[in-house]
């Protein structure tokens, strides 16, 4: 490619001040055409602010931006789009009730002013999806697709606009390893077409795999831009946190006791069948598999959010019948859901109000919530989980993802469950918060709790769990001991591609 060496984007001396805070100070950031440029940094390091400036959402306080050869001034996202800059957000921003094709061309439907050329649109969308190697029917209603397919549609939408620069924010957070590999094929193709790709991710392994260059941000400053060759994950972590993180997955050994949660031959008649496992006190059981294998459905059914048609659930040796979350709580089961924004927090409420929600009745006397008990619970939780900022009265939606997650876990621990199910507890949180969450889980099992952890991230599963159950197409494998496991073995079980 002749354009390969040309500079697609050159941001120089970018600073951004918000009242009282310097979000970015003097950041230089340049991306070449035909390369994948990763941006890494902890939550709050300034990645989102930098991308919002690139996207036209924020104007920088100072600094210059060149796109191609021309210096530009962007006032709104539409300006950035006109310059060929497209952003794929972490959260899916599509219309579930429209078809895939309509979503791909949303906002810039082909055709004259009034009449949409539907057939043309479907054909064009099909071509784009095909080019990306995504097997998705353009006439399908978007809401019928899995999250990972929706993510691909989001990428197709950006790609269809024929951008010069494409920014992907945590594109793999809802993808399984298998789907991630497919995404990488797509990214390499776009790169080879000469598109400049900015890739934001917490997953350093992926950064090492896909990126050509990496820029590390910390506390609003650019720490370093380096070619990916010769850099190791440990180097990046050190640059990101400014300190040595000895063990990303600390597993504190805990004495394993008697069986706490036991499910036998459970089935919801649809998404999973004949699933059996047990978790013992002090044990972390991993539940992994590809997205859509039925892991979340199993968890939701155990917790009473959906119905079981077959099988039994027992807690501490006693069979329980659970038809609602409140029955699950009474039986001693807690569930931290996968979709933090959708199922985890009530965004308009404070941290305190969120934490006390499941056990409100216990804080109530004659119908009135005891203010002191409510406050004390929030205070203790904030302290125990080092939720930052340490203010129970703050609206939970204003916390970073990692801190929201800590609050959601705190909410469930207030109910003092004997078994805790965590669904992707570290998705989309930064390295520091992730280690903290692992540390918390470690403490819980050390205290005799039984934990089921659902995760797509194999290093996490292998690092944290005592035993692992792999799900595929609604069926669960036998539990495997950690010593019998490797990433390859889990992937083989998850995809059914080979029997190891």
């Amino acid at each position: 490619m002749t354009v390969a060496a040309d500079c697609a984007l050159d941001m120089r001396g970018i600073s951004k001040n918000f009242p009282g805070v310097k979000a970015l100070s003097n950041v230089n950031f340049a991306v070449k055409f035909g390369t994948v440029h990763a941006v890494v940094g902890e939550n709050g390091a300034g990645k989102s602010t930098l991308m919002k400036i690139l996207n036209g959402s924020y104007a920088p306080t100072s600094g210059t931006i060149k796109v191609g050869d021309a210096e530009v001034r962007m006032r709104r996202p539409a300006d950035a789009q006109a310059l060929g800059i497209r952003m794929v957000h972490q959260e899916i921003n599509l219309v579930p009730d429209l078809t895939v094709a309509e979503n791909v061309y949303l906002g810039r439907m082909p055709g004259k002013w009034t009449f949409l050329r539907k057939r043309e649109m479907v054909r064009a969308a099909a071509a784009v999806l095909d080019e990306l190697g995504a097997a998705i029917n353009p006439r399908e209603r978007l809401g019928n697709l899995s999250i990972s397919q929706q993510q691909l549609v989001e990428i197709a939408k950006a790609y269809a606009a024929q951008p010069r620069i494409i920014v992907l924010d945590e594109p793999t957070s809802s993808l399984s390893e298998h789907e991630t590999a497919a995404l990488f094929r797509i990214l390499r193709k776009m790169r080879d077409d000469g598109i400049a790709i900015v890739y934001i991710s917490h997953r350093l392994k992926e950064v090492l795999e896909i990126a050509d260059e990496v820029t590390v941000l910390r506390d609003g400053s650019m720490i370093q831009t380096r070619p990916i060759k010769g850099i190791k994950a440990a180097d990046m972590i050190r640059l990101m946190v400014g300190r040595e993180v000895s063990n990303v997955f600390p597993k504190s050994p805990a004495a394993i006791g008697k069986s706490v949660l036991r499910v036998e031959h459970i089935s919801d008649g649809q998404r999973f069948r004949d699933v059996s496992f047990e978790v013992r006190a002090g044990e972390i059981l991993g539940l992994t598999g590809l997205v859509g294998a039925g892991r979340t459905e199993v968890a939701r059914a155990i917790f009473g959010l959906s119905r079981l048609v077959e099988g039994t659930v027992s807690v501490n040796g006693r069979e329980v019948s659970i038809n609602s979350p409140s029955q699950a709580v009474r039986a001693g089961i807690a569930y931290v859901p996968e979709d933090r924004k959708g199922d985890g927090v009530v965004p308009g409420m404070s941290v305190r109000e969120n934490i006390s929600l499941p056990i409100l009745r216990r804080l109530t006397r004659f119908g009135r919530i005891s203010r002191s008990a409510d406050r004390a619970l929030a205070r203790d939780s904030v302290k125990q989980f080092s939720i930052s900022p340490p203010d129970g009265e703050r609206r939970i939606s204003l916390l970073s993802g990692g801190n929201q997650q800590k609050a959601v876990i705190a909410k469930w621990l207030a109910a003092k469950p004997s078994a805790l199910i965590l669904d992707e507890p570290t998705r989309g949180v930064d390295v520091g918060a992730k280690a903290e969450i692992h540390h918390i889980i470690g403490q819980l099992v050390a205290g005799g709790m039984a934990v089921v952890m659902i995760s797509s991230e194999l290093p996490e599963i292998l690092g944290v769990c005592d035993r692992v159950v792999v799900m595929r197409d609604g069926y669960a494998s036998e539990p495997l001991l950690r010593s019998e496991l490797s990433e390859e073995r889990i992937m083989a079980l998850a995809t059914g591609e080979e029997m190891a």
């Binding site: 959010l305 109000e353 900022p389």
Partner: protein
């Protein structure tokens, strides 16, 4: 670590301060402005007789407003069966007087109104029917039954003592106003201090998160409609006793007055945010404005026109502020 959090927070507090100023102090200013304007244009406005009148008629709607606040906060959009429940309360509390006496008649009327609410709540909370459709349907059925029961004629009161009581005063304050104040205080306590209120706010704020937090979301949603129906039943009963006559269409228009007040008070139409005092501030503003317009001789169509603008403006502001606050 703080940078991202703080800047988002800053955006939010700006939005929140605006929300506060506009819906708390803003409404207070508006109320004062209307009162000033009223006393300027009409000598009749600032008289104890007129203000007591406003207060009394406000109280009847106000009782419904307390219930309607729960419906909006829980994310139940609106209860359109209010006219039917008011009619039920009014007609039964007068019609049953000769048979079982005034107080049992009143209680039975309110209880039956609550039954309508239970039906609404069941359809909305458990079956999952759109609240507008469900309450419209149930209201139409309820009104039909009430009309059939009384044969479509006007029912008159037969117990002068109860009429005296309803129209009477205690410490110089009309009894109806006192009842409204008690209900408003209870409603405020339940919504802001009790576990039920917290559940209501959580269910309206994020239904699935509330469900996953072991909140009995279906019951909470249904409960808001039962609360509104009970409130409307009481309101209708008092209306019947004050007027000493009730016809099936006695409650017409109360649903819109109540919704207008709640929305103008800044309670979010999508749920999750709001309080009884806010809704009552909205009610005071709308009632005073209407009163001033009447005294000022503003023609009825123009009145409707202005109130309509007020609703659209309030809802538009809610949407705009919500965007700002959440973004």
């Amino acid at each position: 670590m703080e940078i991202g959090g703080v800047n988002r927070n800053d955006r939010f507090t700006r939005g929140s301060r605006l929300v506060d100023v506009l819906s708390k102090a803003g409404l207070a200013f508006a109320i004062v402005a209307v009162m000033l304007y009223g006393s300027l244009v009409s000598p009749a406005f600032f008289t104890s007789g007129n203000l007591l009148n406003v207060l009394t008629s406000m109280s009847i709607v106000g009782i419904v407003v307390v219930g309607m606040t729960f419906v909006l906060v829980v994310g139940g959009l609106a209860d359109l069966s209010v006219p039917a429940t008011i009619a039920c309360g009014a007609i039964l509390s007068l019609g049953l007087q000769p048979m079982i006496g005034p107080l049992p008649a009143f209680l039975l009327a309110v209880g039956l109104a609550g039954l309508i609410g239970l039906l609404n709540g069941g359809l909305v909370g458990y079956v999952g029917i759109n609240p507008i459709i469900a309450t419209l349907g149930v209201g139409t059925i309820g009104l039909g039954i009430v009309q059939a029961a009384v044969g479509g004629v006007i029912v008159y009161g037969s117990n002068p003592a109860s009429a005296e009581f309803a129209k009477g005063r205690l410490f110089g304050i009309p009894v109806v106003v006192l009842i409204f104040l008690v209900i408003a205080l209870v409603g405020h306590f339940v919504l802001s201090r009790s576990f039920w209120g917290r559940w209501t706010l959580a269910t309206g704020g994020n239904y699935s998160a509330a469900e996953a937090s072991a909140v009995p979301v279906r019951a909470v949603k249904a409960g808001a409609f039962v609360i509104t129906a009970l409130a409307s039943g009481i309101s209708g009963g008092l209306l019947g006793l004050t007027l000493q006559s009730a016809r099936p269409l006695i409650g017409g228009g109360y649903e819109f007055s109540a919704i207008t007040a709640v929305v103008v008070g800044g309670v979010s139409i999508v749920g999750g945010f709001g309080s009884v005092p806010r809704a009552i501030a909205g009610l005071i503003f709308v009632q005073l404005l209407t009163n001033v317009m009447v005294l000022d001789g503003v023609r009825t169509p123009i009145q409707g026109f202005l109130l309509g603008i007020l609703i659209v403006g309030a809802v538009g502001m809610d949407a705009a502020l919500r965007k700002r606050g959440v973004a």
